[in-house]
């Protein structure tokens, strides 16, 4: 990507301390209370894809990052590297992943999960949800931090993603954590401790 196109993106992606803190706080709250939506700061969302914002706030030199569904010239990965110094990594090596396009179950299974001795090495995956409110699919959440049983509708997530995730988090404390980010900047958190059941509309 050339300078004149990269520069305004970099400017838009450079978070002020207040924006970085609010993003961090929203991610923290979202992972602490799975299923409750929290708002990301508004200003960066004017130029930055919503699913990239959590990664922008959390990445630095020590967090290999991967952007899925980037522009063909790799523009957003470059912006990320310029703003945060995060080294670009392939999907299996990345600590932070921003999926700007839907990702497959196989891709989720390829993410690093950490180990029992180092569960923090597991990847944090920020997935872009589609626009709108079609009401499908419906995921029922249960577990630590979930008040009772919570049902969310992550629009645009492929069907097999929940099954792939269940396999990825089966080896607790190793596992992966998910952030579901809607285009209007609301973020839901699905940490590895949450049990997800897909509720189907059609009766079997």
């Amino acid at each position: 990507m050339t300078g004149p196109v990269l520069a305004p993106r970099v400017a838009g992606a450079t978070l002020g301390p207040d924006e970085a803190q609010r993003t961090f706080r929203a991610v923290l709250d979202a992972l602490a209370r799975p299923g409750r939506a929290y708002r990301l700061p508004e200003r960066p969302l004017r130029t930055v894809p919503a699913a990239l914002l959590p990664v922008l706030a959390l990445a630095d030199l020590d967090t290999p990052a991967c952007v899925l569904g980037d522009d063909p010239d790799g523009g957003w990965q470059q912006v990320l590297a310029t703003v945060t110094s995060a080294p670009a990594a392939a999907l299996p090596q990345a600590r932070l992943v921003a999926a700007l396009r839907p990702l497959s179950g196989d891709e989720l299974l390829a993410l690093r999960r950490g180990t029992a001795a180092a569960p923090e090495d597991g990847a944090l995956l920020s997935i872009a949800l589609a626009d709108g409110d079609s009401g499908e699919p419906r995921w029922q959440l249960a577990g630590p931090g979930v008040a009772g049983r919570n049902v969310i509708t992550p629009v645009g997530l492929p069907g097999q993603l929940a099954a792939a995730r269940a396999q990825a988090v089966a080896g607790f404390p190793a596992g992966v954590d998910l952030l579901l980010v809607s285009p209007d900047g609301r973020v839901l958190g699905i940490p590895r401790t949450t049990a997800v059941t897909v509720i189907s509309e059609e009766a079997s």
Binding site: A59, L61, S85
Partner: protein, 370 residues
């Protein structure tokens, strides 16, 4: 050891915090500005930077004000701040020979290469307390120069060749044949013995000044049996450039400079298994102007190399000198320990009830269990 979490009543805790904020920030006295603290208490600011491990004078000054002068609390605030900052780059290794000295003395030799530049020091000043309400009316006159104008320091004089290089030329220094290795990053993994020298140096660079001086004094007085004959080779305070590789061109770029204190301690080797025809050199460096810490560090570096593992010194340096570690554990004692203590009381009462009040009976082998 078990202890309950602090349940002292949230209201009481909030009231205590309120009291701190009111008394500290709204006291009816003039506000201590950041410029005043960096300008008038530069050594406190430098000490906080060094013990926190973050070079930023304004942050250290603000922390010093917020901690009401408690330098360990201030270091804690700055280290916590450091943990929130994203790491953007790793600097290129700093070459201490690039230091532009503001002060430089060589106690070991009268005429080393370059000047004996006393600089800004009170080493020779009588300790007379001056009690005043404001600065003295007249600034001191420049020292008498017999009519000639004071020559400005030439750049070469500000980058003198270090004294240990002279000793090395004479073949008087032990050569450790050390391979350049990746330095140990104590901010990522705590260093535990046995640790490489870089871990010991890094731990000392961030250690509490008083802890290092105390350990140094103990090491010199020798209750552990180690004998030292130390002379200081260099004591320097000056500015060093910090460089990073440009992310796009890959070339090193100077992004700023820091002040540091650097010391080399020449140790006389006299052990039975050491090369007694040579000296060894210990190295000390810390942020800002903190000569006591750098000198202690240099001496302890060479002491650790000589005696670190034959006695407790390496463990003491790695495990007991960090101010936040030691101070934090100390202050945790103020948290409620109700359950622990009650269980001790009940145990003693049970022992009394069972009649175990006499002296312990000695083990048949003759040794008392303690």
């Amino acid at each position: 050891m078990g202890y309950s979490g602090a349940r002292g009543g949230l209201a009481a805790i909030l009231a205590a915090e309120n009291l701190v904020r009111t008394a500290r920030d709204h006291a009816p006295v003039p506000w201590a500005s950041t410029a005043q603290i960096t300008g008038r208490f530069r050594l406190a600011v430098d000490r906080v930077m060094g013990e926190a491990g973050l070079y930023h004078e304004e942050s250290a000054a603000d922390a010093f004000r917020q901690a009401e002068g408690d330098s360990l609390e201030a270091a804690h605030l700055v280290r916590a701040r450091r943990s929130t900052l994203p790491r953007l780059a790793v600097s290129e290794p700093v070459d201490p020979d690039e230091m532009v000295v503001l002060r430089r003395i060589v106690p070991a030799h009268r005429t080393p290469d370059g000047p004996q530049l006393l600089g800004r020091t009170t080493d020779y000043t009588g300790r007379l307390l001056e009690r005043r309400d404001g600065p003295p009316e007249r600034a001191p006159d420049l020292p008498a120069t017999n009519g000639s104008s004071t020559p400005r320091r030439a750049p070469e004089q500000r980058c003198p060749r270090r004294f240990s290089a002279l000793l090395a030329d004479l073949g008087l220094l032990v050569d450790h044949h050390s391979e350049p290795a990746e330095p140990y990053d104590i901010t990522r993994r705590p260093a535990r013995p046995p640790a490489p020298r870089s871990a010991v140096l890094a731990s000392m660079a961030r250690a509490e000044t008083g802890a290092l001086v105390g350990l140094w004094y103990r090491s010199i007085l020798g209750p552990d049996g180690d004998i030292h004959e130390v002379t200081l080779g260099e004591v320097r305070h000056g500015r060093l450039p910090v460089r990073v590789r440009h992310p796009h061109t890959g070339a090193p770029v100077c992004i700023g400079q820091i002040r540091a204190t650097e010391t080399e301690a020449i140790e006389d080797l006299d052990g039975a298994d050491e090369d007694r025809t040579r000296f060894d050199v210990g190295y000390g460096m810390c942020f800002g102007h903190n000569e006591r810490k750098a000198i202690a560090m240099a001496n302890l570096d060479v002491a650790c190399r000589r005696f670190g593992r034959s006695g407790p010194l390496e463990q003491l340096l790695l495990l007991t000198t960090d101010g936040l570690d030691s101070g934090g554990f100390l202050e945790h004692l103020k948290l409620p320990h109700y359950v622990t203590f009650r269980s001790m009381v009940e145990r003693k009462q049970a022992m009394r009830a069972a009649g175990e009040t006499g002296p312990r009976v000695a083990d048949p082998a003759g040794r008392d269990c303690r």
